[in-house]
Every structure is written in C-alpha cells, then in structure tokens.
Amino acid sequence: MNKDKTLHKDIRKDFPILSKKILKTKDLVYFDTAASAQKPQVVIDELNQFYKSHYSNVSRGVHTLSVESTLRYEDARKKVQSFINAKSENEIIFTKSATESINLVAQTFYDKYMSAGDEIILSLMEHHSNLIPWYFLRDKYGVVIKFANITESGEIDVNHFESLITPKTKIAALTHLSNVYGSKIDEKISSICKRNNVAILLDGCQSAAHLKIDVQKLECDFFVFSGHKTYGPSGIGVLYGKENLLNEMPPYQGGGGMIGEVTTDKVSYAELPAKYEAGTPPIAEAHGLGIAIDYMNNIGIENIINHEEELTKYAYEKINELDFVEIYGVGDNRNSIISFNIENIHSHEVSSFLDVEGIAVRAGHHCCQPLMKHLGVNSTSRLSFGVYNTTDEVDIFINALIKCKEFFIK
C-alpha cells in the first residue's frame, strides 16, 4: 500500500474540495465518484482561464477568439480520440451527456437500420439512461426489447445473452462496467455480436475513468461516456461511433453547425463530426474534458487502475468481515464500486448516518429499478472510488458502518 499512499498524498492536494469539512468538523470522505467525480484544480483553473482569455463560439467566425476557441475545442476531440483509441477524430461526437449520446444512437440507428418487429437486447442491470431511449423505440415503433439475465456474481449471463439473438436482432446496448456491481462486461459478448451481425453499444460511464479504454479492442460499434464522471465538467458527453455507421445514419438534431448547404427547399448535411453537433456545443466543457484527460494521462491510467483495484479489494475484504452487511455480487470482477445493505436498515438511514460522519455514499436505486427488483431490494448503499481515495478513508468508513449498525440496531 505504501506506493499508493505516496501517490495519493500528492493527488489529494490536486482536489481542493477534499479539504472541505462536513458539518464544520468532519473530514470529507468522498465515496460517490460513480455518481460524479470531483474536479482537480487544473480543470477548474483551465475553465476559468478559457472564459477569461479565449472564449468565443466555435467553427463560425474568423476572428482571433473564434480561432482560439475552435483550436481548443478540436484539440479536446483529439485527446478523446487518443484516450479511447478511436481510429479517427471523425468518430468522436460531443454531446451534452452520455444520456444524450445513447438517445442519439437509439433514434438514428433505428431510422437507418430498423423497423417494427426488429429486436434489441439490453441487460437487467442497465442504468435507466440505457433503458428508456430504447423503450421509446418500443413504444413508438414497435421494436422488441429482450433482457439478458444477470448471474449471481453480478455479470451478464453470456449464454443467455447469446440465446436471445435471432435474425431480427439489430443491436445490443450494454453497460461496460455496472454502476451497481462494479462488474466488467465479458469480452466474449462483443465477439458474439460481431459473429451474428448485431451492432453493440457499450455504456462506458463507469469505465472511462477506471479502465483502459480501447474501442478497437472492445470491438464495439458505439461507446458513450460522460465528462463529469471522468474528472471533467458536467454538461459534456461523448459518443464514439464507427465512422461508416455515423456516415450512414441520419443526423439527430437539426440546427446551426450541422449543415452543408441550406436553401428554402432543401438541406445537405455537414461531414462528420459536425453532422451530429447541431447548435453551439459545450465549448468550455469540451476543453475542460480535454484537460481532465491530460490529468489522468499524467498520473497514468495504469497507476489509476492499480490503485483503485487495491482499494476496492481492501474495502471488499474489510466489509466482508462485517457479518451484518450484505454485498451484492461476488468474485474478483469488481472495479471501484461496491453495493451493499446493512440488515434491516434502509440505505437512506445508512447514508444519512454516514453523511454526519463526513462520508458521502450513494443511497437508492442507482437509476437501476429493474435490477433492484431482480435483487429483491428497494435500494442499496453504494461506495465508489476515485483516484483520490485512500485505504485510511476505507477504515474511517468501516468504523462508521459499525457505529451505524449499533445506532439503529440496539
């Protein structure tokens, strides 16, 4: 742990919010990175600097500020491209959120490749953002949605998934890393999709800041993630799509910036990536995301992964020693996220109790109501780690959990 402790002492200084006191006395222990990551000083400073010195609209004017803004916006796209190893920067579309990215794919993929009766495969542990855009298609157009089962250990049941595929299956949309279990998708699933000519969208919201992402190795057709969970600003999401698909699919929204030529009778569309970026995009947010990617690269993605793996393992073992706590999902395939319940105590009580101790954990259904139903629970508590967390914080958490149980169950 020594190596990590040194690494993380410095890293904690990068995040000003970590010095905040909760209720004026308690050190903040931030275990809610899966909901949103905190921001390093460099991202905060760069956003400030961008607005102070370089800001203008992008891709429109010829004046100095327009050029400075556009350069930074497009530079962010290159950083994202290299961050997830996309073949071309044309494959990187900036959206307002990962949710918007999925809605974009659902609508435009349907328009080009699907019709009533065609099938989509999701899993029972998808986030609502990877359910509802597809439900829209079911309700509007009569496509069929099938759900892949989840195993005891919290992973998609690969055999069941494969058995759901028919000649009518057009796309599968699945979480790359579960926001409840922290489990990573089995890579076999992409090959199964490829073999059966089924497109695959991976929801990378939980993985982008916690795993090495290589969209070519993942063999996915679409990959989405959000800026705010990767130490960048809120208000920006990313859509990666294979260039041939993005070229074939129709535009999503109409507006400025996505056009080729407009007359009173007709319109032609811009080339990629502008075709999918109607309206003024999240300019400063894209720049901020680029800086956040630089920040992660400077620490080293491998170092981040190693640290979080050790931390997750440490926390898992410590929590597992508490006989009054149930952890959801088992096994080693667990990355930076642990969901649990204390027997007979609702997650709200746990979260309020921990909050008073300075500890931020998520309580509730995690936007995964179908999964909660599958687990037979109303809600869970979840701790999730970021690069800035330490084993000392885990110890504080464990002590608080014991106090919490004693408080509610006398």
């Binding site: 209720l23 105590i345 609702h346 997650s347 709200h348 009580e349 309020s352 109790f353 909050d355 008073v356 101790e357 309580a363 509730g364 259904h365 109501q369 909660m372 109303n378 809600s379 408080f407 509610f408």
Partner: protein
C-alpha cells in the same frame, strides 16, 4: 453520538419505523392513492374511509421505504384518524412547514405532538421527501 442524528432518529421514529401502526388496507374505503418517490424508490399506498360528515373514520397504509418515510406514514395515520378533512388539510400544511424548518405559524401541531418528532428532518434537506411522501399521498387521495 451526533446531535443531529439523535434529533432525526428519536425513539418514537425508530419505533414507528420498525413497527408501523395502521399498516395494511382499510376493510372498506372510499378514497385511496399510491405515492412513489422516483428518486429513491420509496412507495406508499393509502386507503381511507371518509364518512358523510367529512370525518376520516379509518385510514391505513402499506408500502416500503426508509425509517423516516415509514414512521412518518405511521404517525400520520394515527393523527388523521377521527379528524375532519378540513382540519387534516391544515395539518398537511403545518407538517410540510415543520419538516422544512418553518415552525412559526403552526396551528394544528404543537411541541407535545408526536408529529413534532419529525422536526429533525429539517437538517437533512434530502430527507424531506421521505417525511412528506405519505402526506402528499394523503393529499392526492382527497383529489379523487
């Protein structure tokens, strides 16, 4: 133990959270509603029998949720049984004011009241919805 938590989880709250009163469904009812907090998944179903004089003769609830939401529903049913609807509506307003921290102009709830035990919620703004779920469900049931 932290004072805020002691204030939030008074004995009466923990007691009603664990062993809710008036849990179930009224044998005969003429008003009902389902309440749901989509943010956290808490649910409450409420049935009432209101007589011709607008008196709440019977009221029961069922559902699942945290101690605050269950205790609040349980205390509410105890309080509302036997009350006239117009009075109950004033209690609704007073209760929502109380848990939001404005307790100056309460006309139906005083410090000796069991509902007063939920005052501690005001220091946990994210829990206000837990405490008011049953009351909003009650309000909806009256709209029928």
């Amino acid at each position: 133990m932290n004072d805020l938590l002691k204030e939030l989880y008074q004995e009466i709250i923990l007691d009603h959270g664990k062993e809710p009163r008036n849990f179930g469904e009224c044998e005969t009812h003429n008003k009902s509603a389902h309440g749901h907090n989509p943010l956290c998944g808490d649910k409450v179903s409420l049935t009432l029998f209101v007589d011709d004089d607008d008196i709440i003769k019977d009221i029961k609830f069922s559902g699942e949720g945290c101690a605050i939401s269950v205790a609040s529903a349980s205390l509410m049913t105890e309080k509302l049984k036997g009350k006239k609807l117009s009075y109950a509506e004033n209690m609704f307003k007073d209760f929502t004011d109380l848990v939001k921290g404005s307790e100056d102009s309460l006309s139906t709830i005083d410090e000796d009241d069991s509902l007063y035990a939920l005052k501690g919620v005001k220091d946990f703004p994210m829990r206000v919805k837990c405490a008011t779920l049953a009351w909003h469900t009650f309000k909806n049931a009256l709209k029928e």
